[in-house]
């Protein structure tokens, strides 16, 4: 039997090569594609992303990829959204107006507060390495974070953040200016990382490996 592939969805933005290389490094057989057939036949799917929410969703729509992605998650095929790809998983985003997302995890995407909890202005985007901690006890067991430890640092670059309706969909948090920001969200077989696991050194590779081994 030919081993099934992990499809990385290519909709024309940013550095997809590193996502591919990261998964390959973790032993995956990877296909980078924008063809709905390739994506529907994959055993797992990764939705990367950099850039603006509305442009990204439009690109997915133009390529006819929205229906296939929804179909996959109905069939419980593991899906990992990275950065903007994670934000697509929610119902919609307030980035430049309101734009609809995939609606796989109830909630929305909002701007990171530009004041710290102490009322000081803070730099946005949130760029750099930040420490992950559990949203609640045992949240990481059996998940894509099962190989990680609290305090592991991951690499973030974003101006907007996911706000799931249901706190039980939050898996990992980071603190930025005193605010809790959802770093990893999950619902059934749908996972999202706000940071870039493919750019987070050994910490990120552990997460990719856990996803590959799911």
């Amino acid at each position: 039997m030919i081993p099934k592939k992990i499809a990385v969805i290519d909709y024309g933005v940013g550095n997809i090569l590193s996502v591919q290389r990261g998964l390959e490094y973790c032993g995956a057989n990877v296909i980078v594609s924008s063809d709905p057939e390739d994506i529907l036949s994959a055993s797992k799917v990764v939705l990367p992303g950099v850039g603006a929410f509305s442009n990204g969703m439009q690109a997915l729509d133009k390529l006819g990829l929205i229906e296939p992605i929804l179909e996959l998650s109905n069939n419980n095929v593991p899906l990992l959204g990275i950065c903007l790809g994670m934000q697509f998983l929610l119902d919609g985003s307030e980035e430049f107006g309101f734009h609809e997302g995939l609606g796989l995890i109830p909630g929305k995407v909002v701007r990171i507060p530009n004041l710290t909890t102490d009322g000081e202005t803070q730099k946005i985007p949130h760029i750099g390495w930040n420490d992950l901690f559990c949203s609640r006890q045992d949240a990481w067991a059996g998940s894509i974070l099962q190989k990680n430890r609290e305090g592991d640092a991951a690499y973030f670059v974003h101006s907007f953040m996911a706000l799931p309706d249901d706190n039980s969909d939050r898996m990992a948090e980071v603190l930025y200016g005193g605010h809790k920001i959802a770093a990893v969200i999950a619902k059934k077989n749908v996972f999202g990382c706000q940071f870039h696991p493919e750019k987070s050194g050994p910490v990120g590779l552990k997460i990719l490996r856990s996803f590959v081994e799911l």
Partner: protein
């Protein structure tokens, strides 16, 4: 306070890692792939590749080096040197880079900053500034790897660059570059006080203490290290441990 970033800077000429003094007198160090991999394994936070002669000849050799690096280096990579168009940026991101550093072409056409930021996001658009002191608390912008003067004031240019969409500034002191005398703290402070975006200080890192000084006194968000690593005078892991012991917040590994 956010984590201060420890960045390895690799200046490249053709296929070689090189190092100069004041961006001149370039000396061959070795194979950039080998050094980048070593720094990744030592726990560096980011890597910057600069093609030192690209703007002179109008080309960039780094695509292949970065593509190769993306196989086993999993930290953010910035590429600079000879980037002139939005298409150049698309190509280099496809090769595995996360950000581009633009100097000469941005000075010639500041709207390029806006074009890159709109298409790829401002987080991707690093404005590279080569600064040479010309008076008391005054610095002039140079281009073409420190070869050409522009008449622009560094503080004014940094502010304009950020207005145009730059998401980060890579600030190289030509006076300190390769000298091991420590970063130009007043230059770094002048810029970090003038703009809201992160500032990467580059040029002059001689000992681990220098990184603490540029963070706490200069207000830098990140420090670029070259000579100190290339000549194996310190390892990234030792610098990180020392910085943490001195009270600087850095990524824990």
């Amino acid at each position: 306070m956010r984590n201060f970033r420890l960045i390895a800077r690799l200046d490249i000429k053709g296929p070689n890692l090189i190092k100069g003094i004041h961006l001149e007198g370039l000396r061959v160090i070795g194979d950039p792939r080998e050094y980048a991999r070593l720094y990744y394994l030592q726990g560096v936070d980011e890597i910057i590749y600069m093609d030192s002669v690209a703007s002179l000849y109008g080309r960039n050799h780094l695509g292949e080096i970065v593509k190769e690096a993306s196989k086993d280096i999993f930290v953010p990579m910035t590429v600079g040197g000879g980037i002139r168009t939005v298409e150049d940026v698309a190509d280099i991101l496809r090769a595995g880079a996360d950000k581009v550093a633009v100097n000469t072409a941005a000075v010639a056409n500041p709207n390029l900053i806006t074009k890159i930021a709109r298409r790829f996001g401002s987080q991707c658009m690093v404005l590279s500034i080569e600064a040479k002191q010309v008076g008391e608390k005054r610095w002039e912008v140079y281009t073409d790897n420190g070869r050409e003067r522009t008449g622009l004031d560094v503080v004014e240019w940094a502010k304009k660059g950020v207005e145009k969409g730059a998401g980060e500034i890579l600030l190289t002191s030509i006076d300190r570059e390769g000298t091991r005398k420590g970063f130009d703290l007043s230059l770094v402070r002048a810029i970090s006080e003038s703009v809201q975006v992160p500032v990467i200080a580059s040029g002059g890192m001689g000992k681990p203490d220098d990184i603490v000084n540029v963070a706490l006194q200069g207000g830098a968000d990140a420090g670029a290290m070259a000579d100190i690593l290339h000549y194996k005078r310190s390892e990234v892991s030792d610098i990180r441990a020392m910085a943490e012991a001195a009270g600087l917040k850095v990524r824990r590994i």
